[in-house]
């Protein structure tokens, strides 16, 4: 497996959908290749950082709107 091939298989690797044989080839390549090891690390960081966008919190206006909706329902 070459570096050029490896970078295109990285999502399958990270999602655990890479066939066993390719996975073993990839791991053997990674153990000897600094560039690809860094690429994999960067991809993991990218996923982690993208996940940080989840932390967005509600605005006061949204919270108030939802509470109104709940209280209307509660009364019925």
């Amino acid at each position: 497996m070459t570096c050029k091939e490896l970078v295109e298989l990285i999502t399958q690797y990270l999602e655990g959908t890479l066939p066993e044989e390719a996975r073993l080839q990839m791991e053997s390549h990674l153990s000897a290749c600094e560039g690809c090891t860094h690429y994999l690390e960067q991809m993991r960081q990218t996923i982690f950082l993208t996940g940080q966008l989840r932390e967005e919190s509600l605005t006061q206006q949204q919270r108030a709107g939802l509470l109104d909706l709940f209280r209307d329902w509660q009364k019925n």
Binding site: Q52, F70, Q74
Partner: protein, 217 residues
């Protein structure tokens, strides 16, 4: 304090019309709902409206929810159906089933600039990273910079700029952490397509981060 209550407990409390239980669920999921709705409709206000309607449907349908799927799946499915109906009615929005074919056409184009690799005909290690174009470790980058507002804004903008189908998949997968199966159901695309779209989207976000964190590359 309900901070540590699991979802089944919250739902049981909600059946008893407990306001704190509702607040907890809303804090946990509302922004995700709006984000998901925005994949179907352009207008932020409309996305907000659809999300509110979804909560109302949850409250009314609560007694019928048997917990066979997770609450999250149930919630997201209600929203998706409403958002799709709405976008069809307004018919100026994107139709998801349209992109199943379109996305496969660039499946073969590389996600990393081919110029970063040695020639396929190179005598020594063909198709390996060129020494001066090899990815660097990000381990030494201070966490303050990695997690800065500016970095997250960059990611946000990069995702906003992606083709609709890629934007949808990366948002659902990496931001809202839905499973591949859930995403395929929501977007009505195949597993393979989902994976290809995720791969391309992530590669572009990674590239944007690399350009930003190591401008010399």
């Amino acid at each position: 304090m309900y901070a540590k209550l699991d979802e089944m407990t919250l739902l049981n409390l909600l059946r008893q019309r407990d306001e704190m239980a509702f607040t907890q669920l809303v804090e946990r999921y509302h922004t995700s709902l709006v984000r998901l709705a925005r994949l179907f409709v352009q207008d932020e206000a409309v996305a907000e409206e659809i999300s509110q309607e979804t909560w109302l449907a949850v409250l009314h349908g609560l007694s019928h929810f048997e917990g066979r799927s997770s609450f999250k799946t149930w919630l997201f499915t209600i929203l998706t159906n409403k958002a799709k109906t709405r976008s069809r009615r307004e018919s100026r929005s994107f139709v998801f089933s349209d992109f199943d074919d379109a996305s496969t056409s660039f499946e073969t184009s590389p996600t990393v600039n081919p110029e970063r690799f040695k020639d396929a005909s190179a005598e020594k290690s063909p198709n390996h990273w060129l020494a001066d174009a090899q990815p660097a470790s990000w381990a030494g980058i201070p966490e303050d910079l990695l997690l800065s507002e500016e970095t997250l804004t960059l990611i946000c903008q990069t995702i906003e700029g992606l083709p609709q189908n890629q934007r949808s998949v990366i948002t659902l997968h990496d931001v809202d952490e839905l499973s591949s199966q859930e995403i395929c159901n929501i977007l009505e695309i195949s597993e393979t397509n989902q994976r290809v779209l995720l791969h391309r989207a992530r590669a572009k976000v990674r590239q944007a981060l690399e350009d930003y964190l190591q401008p010399e590359h």
